[in-house]
């Protein structure tokens, strides 16, 4: 990887982050737009959960991550502390891969 490619990626990644806060700035957005934007994080987070649980190289796979997520889901439901949820998921997957 060249430094030019790395800096190019950094510039592009920053530009995408900054579009909203820098370009739109303090403008007031219409309520319908705000409602849509407010809901956007929900399907995005759900997609991250799904893809990182079942995602493989261009296919869906069921491996140690699935039981690990089942454990995590029960702990989230029982309102366990955040670090406990993460640690339990990692330990479950690691034990299944022994």
């Amino acid at each position: 990887m060249t430094w030019a490619a790395l800096l190019g990626l950094a510039a592009a990644a920053y530009a995408m982050k900054a579009i909203g806060p820098v370009a739109l700035g303090r403008r007031q957005l219409p309520p319908a737009v705000l409602e849509t934007l407010g809901m956007l994080s929900i399907p995005l987070l759900a997609a991250l959960v799904a893809v990182q649980t079942f995602g493989g190289a261009h296919r869906l796979v069921v491996d140690a991550r699935v039981p690990a997520m089942a454990v995590a889901a029960v702990l989230v439901w029982r309102r366990a502390p955040f670090p406990v949820v993460l640690a339990a998921a990692a330990v479950t997957a690691a034990l299944l891969r022994l």
Partner: protein
């Protein structure tokens, strides 16, 4: 007020600590993929969006070219643009300040901000989480890059299962909003259907369309509930 804020900053610190662990594994994988320690640390400081960084080193270590590595990284980074738009009502300082804060726009800081009931605590949650993750992610990267492969395969340690667990824990409190379950289920379904068909990054971006059934559900219910009050 400060008593209410304490659990928020504690939560932000916990998220930071967890991402620090990912940072270590990123550092290990990045050096193993052929990047120098300086490049690895520069990527965490300047790109600062974990999924894109993992995508780059993942493709490179599988023997892919730099351009093949950048495409999924850019697609994954595009979701930060969507996050940035959703944070416009929260980040309302001067231009210079907003420009700096923009670098902190990532999954974790956005999810923490969106989980707060009012703009003031949302802003605090965004900053506390963003700064805590920035520090831990970069320290972790440096540690991992310096330690190199002596730490072993992060998958064997179950670290890959920590990502979806973290996002699930951040998503769960938001599911009580009207229409949220419909949006979440459609987003997950869209993404899973696209995994075998589309390049990495596209499934997550396309999942944004899950807001359509979510909004439809929220508005479909509203008129029915109104007469009861």
């Amino acid at each position: 007020m400060s008593a209410e804020r304490r659990p928020l900053t504690r939560r932000a610190a916990a998220i930071g600590g967890a991402t620090g662990v990912y940072g270590v594994s990123f550092g290990v994988l990045s050096v193993a993929a052929g990047l120098s320690v300086a490049q690895t640390c520069a990527m965490s400081l300047l790109v600062f969006t974990g999924a894109s960084q993992f995508a780059v080193v993942g493709v490179l270590s599988a023997g892919g070219s730099v351009s093949a590595a950048l495409a999924p990284a850019l697609l994954l980074a595009a979701r930060n643009g969507v996050y940035g738009l959703s944070l416009v009502p929260i980040l309302r300082g001067r231009l210079g300040r907003r420009a700096l804060e923009s670098q902190l726009i990532i999954d974790e800081s956005t999810a923490m901000a969106r989980a707060q009931p009012d703009p003031a605590s949302a802003r605090l949650a965004f900053l506390a989480t963003g700064i805590s993750v920035f520090i831990c992610w970069n320290l972790g990267t440096l540690l991992g890059a310096a330690a190199g492969s002596s730490l072993g395969d992060p998958r064997r340690l179950g670290l890959d299962a920590m990502f979806p667990a973290a996002f699930l824990a951040l998503l769960a409190p938001q599911l009580r909003r009207p229409g949220a379950p419909a949006a979440a289920l459609s987003g997950a379904a869209i993404a899973l259907m696209l995994v075998p068909l589309a390049p990495a990054g596209v499934p997550i971006l396309a999942a944004s369309l899950g807001v359509v059934p979510g909004l439809w559900w929220a508005h479909r219910r509203a008129p029915r509930e109104a007469p009861e009050t």
